[in-house]
């Protein structure tokens, strides 16, 4: 009998099969991921989880028989006698027998790991202008020589180090040199004296045995070049969430904004080792707050968008040097702004904010019932539209339903050719 411990073997032999399945079902799974991310809280998106995909197209057909007369033998008769008649269970419902199993699982649940989920979720998305600043997408690790090791891959054997250790060992253990042996052999060839001759033969044999015992290169001599991984500088990003919280912003609107921010966060998290979030809320004056206050704290007052931009600009100046940070900003608002503020807002945006931002998105949120297309353009929208037409790199969208968040987000970040503008 033979016992083998397989527990340490790499598990998930099925991983490859699973990936094949995922690849094959990609369109289906992707659809399911999008659907499920609309239904649940966006922060759960980071948790991965279960998606349900229809079996159509993923099934494996076999010849199957159905119908006809059926005979079955069952256990557990209590009261029937031969010749009794039983009522049929309601059509096609519960089957009385074990026949016909494996019929249909209408849909089929698939548990995605967090990685897989987010991957599929963000597939095809890309941050604009990443190349412009030549920043690594993720943290990368470099290799550096770090001395020698006793184990390693054959490709890394250090020949000079190995040879010199072998030499040291041979010397230390007094491995006979070649010329010693040759000298003895020469002497033996010329020697006539029988006793001396025997002596020589014995010596020679001893020497040869020693040569055999002490190999030229021993496994213990072998040294491998060792490498160490060195972390390269970490790419980092900061995300500014700007939101108008004046009385006109309803809970619904905040919810839409929140979803957008969450998506942006998940997205940035994928790209950068380190993502900071700054929440700035504003009425007619702006303040930096924590997440909870940002979304739930009550506030009231008039609206001055410029105040938020001023605040953001200050924070960037003091805490996030544009040379070191990738700066992203998303502004959510219902679009109301004091007309008198327009000039200042435009000025701040074009001169201060946009030049340091990788990406600035403006999300105009509306009430659920409103059809975005019917909304008259708000004052802010009109202003941004104008700036955009003048060439400012602004992205803007209108949203009024939860379901629209993801498509809009995806639309904003879709991979596109260089010329195309958002």
């Amino acid at each position: 009998m033979h016992i083998v411990d397989r527990r340490l073997n790499p598990g998930s032999k099925s991983l490859e099969n699973r990936q094949r399945f995922l690849r094959r079902a990609k369109a289906l799974v992707q659809g399911a991921v999008k659907k499920s991310s609309q239904d649940r809280d966006i922060k759960d998106v980071l948790e991965g989880g279960e998606v349900t995909i229809p079996l159509d197209g993923m099934d494996e057909p076999r010849f199957r028989r159905e119908g006809g007369t059926r005979d079955m033998v069952l256990p557990g008769n209590k009261k029937f006698v031969e010749g009794d008649w039983l009522q049929r269970p309601n059509q096609s419902g519960a089957k009385g027998s074990g026949a016909g199993e494996g019929d249909s699982e209408d849909a089929f649940r698939f548990v995605l790991s967090r990685e897989e989920f987010v991957d599929l979720f963000l597939d095809d998305l890309e941050l604009p202008d990443l190349e412009k600043r030549k920043l690594a997408e993720t943290e990368s690790e470099g290799l550096r020589r770090a001395g020698y090791a006793t184990s390693g891959s054959p490709a890394n054997i250090s020949i000079s180090r190995t040879v010199s250790r072998a030499l040291a060992r041979r010397v230390a253990l007094r491995r006979p040199r070649k010329d010693e042996v040759e000298a003895l052999e020469a002497e033996l060839a010329e020697c006539d004296d029988e006793t001396r001759r025997r002596e020589l033969v014995a010596q020679l044999e001893a020497l040869k045995a020693k040569v055999k015992r002490i190999p030229f290169i021993d496994p213990i001599d072998i040294r491998y070049r060792r490498f160490e991984t060195v972390p390269k500088p970490v790419a980092q990003a900061v995300m500014f969430c700007l939101m108008d919280v004046s009385g006109s912003m309803s809970e619904h609107m905040k919810d839409l904004a929140k979803r957008f921010y969450m998506l942006l966060y998940v997205f940035l998290k994928r790209r950068y080792k380190h993502v900071e979030i700054v929440f700035i809320r504003h009425t007619d004056r702006a303040e930096e707050v924590d997440e909870d206050t940002f979304f739930h704290g009550p506030a009231s007052g008039g609206t001055l968008v410029s105040s938020a931009l001023v605040a953001m600009n200050d924070i960037v100046r003091t805490r996030f040097r544009p040379a070191d940070w990738n700066i992203y900003a998303a502004q959510a608002s219902d679009g109301d702004n004091m007309t008198s503020d327009s000039g200042l807002t435009g000025h701040l945006l074009t001169d201060k904010i946009l030049p340091v931002c990788q990406f600035f998105a403006y999300l105009e949120v509306g009430e659920a019932a409103n059809y975005t297309f019917d909304m008259p353009d708000s004052s802010l929208w009109t202003l941004y539209e104008r700036l955009r037409n003048e060439g400012a790199p602004l992205s803007m969208r209108k949203v009024s339903e939860r379901g629209e968040i993801f498509p809009v987000f995806q639309d904003l970040f879709k991979r596109r050719s260089k010329q195309e503008r958002v």
Binding site: E60, R65, G67, R70, D71, G76, G83, W85, G96, G98
Partner: protein, 514 residues
């Protein structure tokens, strides 16, 4: 033997020495008391995750890669995580050495049970049952799988993953119609098979000459001469092994595609006996573990506590819900098989008059182990039940036979119950439920229109009015047509050759054959 005294282990913990001790103790009983004859054992300890892995590759330690195994895995993992499904305690492979997987989280008692069950019960059955002897090659299977895995991987490199996948998908769809049901002259020798595959490949490579590609295909020499009869005979028709037929005669398959079909076919054939001996195989293993565990307890090598733990799992395994129980899903092969083995033991040792009348050959014969070993070697589920299901057991299970004719408006008829008049009918009907000839649809390749459009013609002889499910049938035929690369027609006929339904499917344009 009575080598009593020393406990195999205390409590629930075990280590490798324990397993060794347990194995040796079981072996002692298995060989001397039960007279079992087994392949050498190899016991592998694995984790729950690896167990799930093994599930999805039909229990094999190595298997080729295919998406459907991934789907299987995801499916099982999901139901496992949700607690809908427990994991089997063990998986055992019909190979030599016979590999039994043990899960690491089993207690020492469970490991003992599993070793007795798999490493001796199943192992003996695999080695001695005539179906396994006839159809499987325990020495060759692991090497063959290794070869299959490698071959398919190479094909994927050469011809692209998707092309290979399409071919395997198609072969999988026909897998249940890729077995020989009746033994021919050849027994399976997978090692030679593997060698031949290698030689074929080498030969093809050595004789490959691109020049031949430009030579026009040879025309049929004289098409007039072949009569329909002779043509069918030449093609080996009718043929129920559809995969075999395709492999040998499909006109436009590349050699590697034929090899893939051969692989799927061999694997189907390898598993074929397992489907026909579920009740017997599980019954044997359960009976063996029960005997061994009881003996170990008697010898004082298992504590009372451990034995109670064993009895609890044993009872769960052989639990048979009744038909009106929510947990009912057909006969539990463990329950039925174990009950029959015990019943045979009873008949051999202490028969009643009824048993003497029903089983004159074995009643009161005395040599329980000898009789059982004989039965284990020479029957499959259908013949086993037909021969050995006793009235006593029919009564104990309170079995009854229902006849459901959709044309009958009164409902489902109770045709026979566990009484004098019903025993034989119940037994016959139950045996029939395990008859593969009866359970699988009877589909044959009947002809190829060689003069015309090369249409492949199949026939399904329906039984008791059951026809094929239309959606699935179209899909399977689509796969078949893709492999055949010309039209495929299937007719369904009843007992009087009346045509009930006809299908014709054309191959997809850029289908499999290149």
């Amino acid at each position: 033997m009575g080598s009593s005294g020393e406990r195999l282990f205390e409590g629930a913990d075990w280590d490798f020495q324990t397993l060794q001790r347990v194995h040796d103790a079981c072996e002692q009983i298995a060989r001397t008391e039960l007279g079992l004859d087994v392949y050498p054992n190899q016991i592998e300890v694995i984790t729950a995750e690896q167990m799930l892995d093994a599930y999805s590759s039909v229990g094999m330690p190595l298997f080729y890669k295919h998406w459907s195994f991934g789907k299987q895995f995801a499916f099982q993992e999901a139901s496992y995580r949700k607690g809908l499904m427990g994991l089997a305690y063990e998986i055992v492979i019909n190979s030599s050495p016979c590999i039994s997987y043990l899960m690491e989280e089993n207690t020492a008692t469970m490991q003992t049970l599993v070793i007795a069950h798999a490493a001796f019960g199943h192992n003996h059955f695999f080695k001695n049952n005539y179906l396994f002897k006839q159809w499987t090659d325990a020495d060759g299977i692991l090497d063959y799988l290794e070869f299959a895995k490698g071959y398919i991987a190479v094909c994927e490199d050469r011809h692209g993953r998707e092309t290979v996948e399409r071919t395997i998908d198609a072969a999988h769809a026909l897998m249940s119609h890729g077995v020989d049901r009746y033994p021919g002259k050849k027994t399976l020798d997978l090692r030679a098979e593997e060698k031949r595959a290698g030689e074929r490949r080498q030969h093809e490579e050595s004789v490959f000459n691109d020049l031949w590609r430009t030579v026009p295909n040879t025309k049929a020499k004289s098409k007039a001469a072949l009569t329909a009869e002779r043509r069918r005979a030449l093609l080996g028709l009718p043929q129920e092994n559809i995969l075999y037929f395709l492999e040998k005669t499909a006109p436009r398959l590349a050699p590697w595609q034929r090899e893939l079909i051969r692989i799927v076919r061999h694997i189907a054939q390898y598993f074929y006996p397992q489907g026909q001996t579920k009740v017997m195989n599980e019954g044997t293993a359960t009976y063996v573990h029960y005997r061994i565990m009881s003996r170990l307890h008697q010898q004082g090598r298992l504590t009372d506590g451990n034995f109670l733990e064993f009895l609890q799992s044993h009872t769960n395994v052989v639990f048979q819900p009744e038909f009106d129980d929510r947990r009912y899903s057909g006969f539990n092969p463990y329950a039925l098989g174990f009950a029959m083995m015990q019943d045979i033991e009873r008949i051999v040792k202490t028969p009643e008059d009824e048993d003497r009348e029903w089983f004159p050959d074995i009643a009161g014969k005395g040599d329980v182990e000898g009789v059982l070993r004989e039965i284990w070697s020479n029957y499959r589920d259908e013949s086993f039940i037909n021969q050995f299901l006793s009235p006593a057991l029919i009564r104990r299970f309170r079995m009854f036979h229902l006849h459901d004719d959709p044309a009958e408006s009164q409902g489902i008829k109770v045709d026979a119950i566990h009484d004098e008049r019903g025993y034989r009918r119940v037994r016959r009907e139950l045996a029939r439920q395990y008859d593969v000839g009866f359970v699988d649809a009877n589909i044959e390749v009947v002809d190829v229109d060689l003069d015309g459009d090369r249409r492949l013609m199949l026939r399904h002889s329906t039984v008791k009015g059951a026809q094929l499910n239309e959606t699935d049938t179209r899909r399977v035929l689509q796969h078949l047509a893709d492999l055949w690369s010309y039209d495929v027609a299937l007719t369904e006929v009843d007992g009087t050759d009346k045509v009930l339904k006809e299908y014709v499917v054309s191959p997809r344009a850029a289908a499999v054959a290149a």
